[in-house]
Amino acid sequence: MKRIRCSSSLCDQFLSSSRQIVPRPRITVTAKGPLLTSHTRALSTTPVRSQYYEKPINPYEPAPGEPLPRARNPLNSAKLAALHARLSLHPSYPIQTLARALIDQSADPIRFYNNSSLAYLGNSLLGYYGAEHFMCTYPRLPTLVLKSAMAAFVGPRPLAAIGREWGVETAFEPTPDVDAGLLQFKRLPPGTTVKGHLRPARSEGVPEEEAMANFVRATFAGVYLHEGVAASRQFFRQHVMSRKLDVDQLFNFVQPTRELSRLCAREGFTPPVARLISETGRMSRSPVFIVGVYSGQECLGQGHGASMDEARIRAAVNALKGWYLYSPANPVDLPSKMDVDPAASFAPAMIDVGEVIV
């Protein structure tokens, strides 16, 4: 599992607001014209500027010492202040970072003003916290189910839902004079295909769901950078893991009886046998059979059904879910606990051999 730590240099890198000054190769001008070096030839499409070139005045440039352009007015926005308070963010979380989290890449291509770097960091953190939670709490979860469970909590759809539940509204068009408390992104024209290779470039617009999910990721990264590891873990627990999902509803078994036999063979159990426990109304229009699958004397699972076959399959599914959804009795220590306090006591998580190969 990957550990992410935040050093001050990383913090500077993600939050650096000043434009990066790229050293331009020196151009010597002769009577024939500029002598292009091999490096400058690659850049020859850019217009050649003199050494004493002055930057054009940009009304949306930030004032010295301010991370965002003045025109976006992050400090004058009532919506932004209300959002900050609604999320109970610490006063050390600046309003400017929250304003930047609301600016999508499609609204402002300059990466020092948009949320792309914050969203990238936030996505890594959300994936890390989500993965460690499920891998430690349900160590036997099959890979596909683990992925599905993670997507149900930290995928784009739940993240966009979280953003909407925070009361974030979207700007109609991402002009710089809109309220800084609105989500700013370029909308796609109606009827655009957003999946597969037909998906248009990001600069042409993004779906609302994607922009909203990126805002939530960027907000999460801001908590990590400004408030620290402990606060970001708590923020994750409060806003993401507090949501409701039954993991047992995610399984889709294709051949449960066969899978159960393979599991018993692998684990060295006695091969499973289905036995009828109880029945009623066999000759009526609504019979009920209760079937249990037994490995020796041990009942692995039970199921009911209108036919014995149905009940047997349900029993096998029940037994497999009992195996795959094993969870340690005591609350497990998550690896990110050590990020908060490296001296804390830590009990390693159980690692399972993996799902049954049928």
Partner: protein, 137 residues
């Protein structure tokens, strides 16, 4: 073929982890001329600043609405709005109305007939007549 997975999205449970106040915006409208707005103007002058300070998570706007009754309009996270006419009310009554809008969830009012509503399944499980001691007639 081994087990495959179904797609699902987790459901929000506001207040289980973090609590997000559902009222996101309150608009106060008054009329400068009409006497029905006297209480509202007094409320805006003397009480609104404290109310806004006590509720930083709500965006508050004040705007004139000439020749109309004074109203408070609450906007909620679920997209609905609630409007209360505060004509001829004094500033304390208006404060009560503002608090009513703040505490509201934005849902339509409905009657709850069951004491508990939950997404979790019952801890006792469902009764099965086929298990346990069989009843002998």
């Amino acid at each position: 073929m081994p087990v495959t997975a179904l797609r699902a999205v987790s459901k929000a449970q506001n207040g289980v982890g973090a609590f997000v106040l559902q009222c996101k915006r309150l608009d106060f409208h008054y009329c400068d001329w009409a006497g029905a707005s006297r209480g509202m103007k007094s409320f805006i002058a003397h009480k609104l600043a404290d109310f806004a300070k006590a509720n930083p998570q709500i965006e508050i706007t004040v705007s004139p609405r000439p020749n109309q009754h004074p109203i408070i309009r609450g906007s909620y996270i679920n997209g609905r709005e609630k409007v209360i006419c505060v004509r001829k009310l004094d500033h304390l009554q208006i404060l009560q109305k503002a608090e009513l809008l703040r505490n509201s969830s934005g849902q339509k009012l409905k009657k709850f007939s069951k004491p508990v509503k939950s997404m979790n399944e019952g801890v006792r499980g469902i009764f099965s007549p086929y298990h346990g001691e069989k009843h002998v007639i």
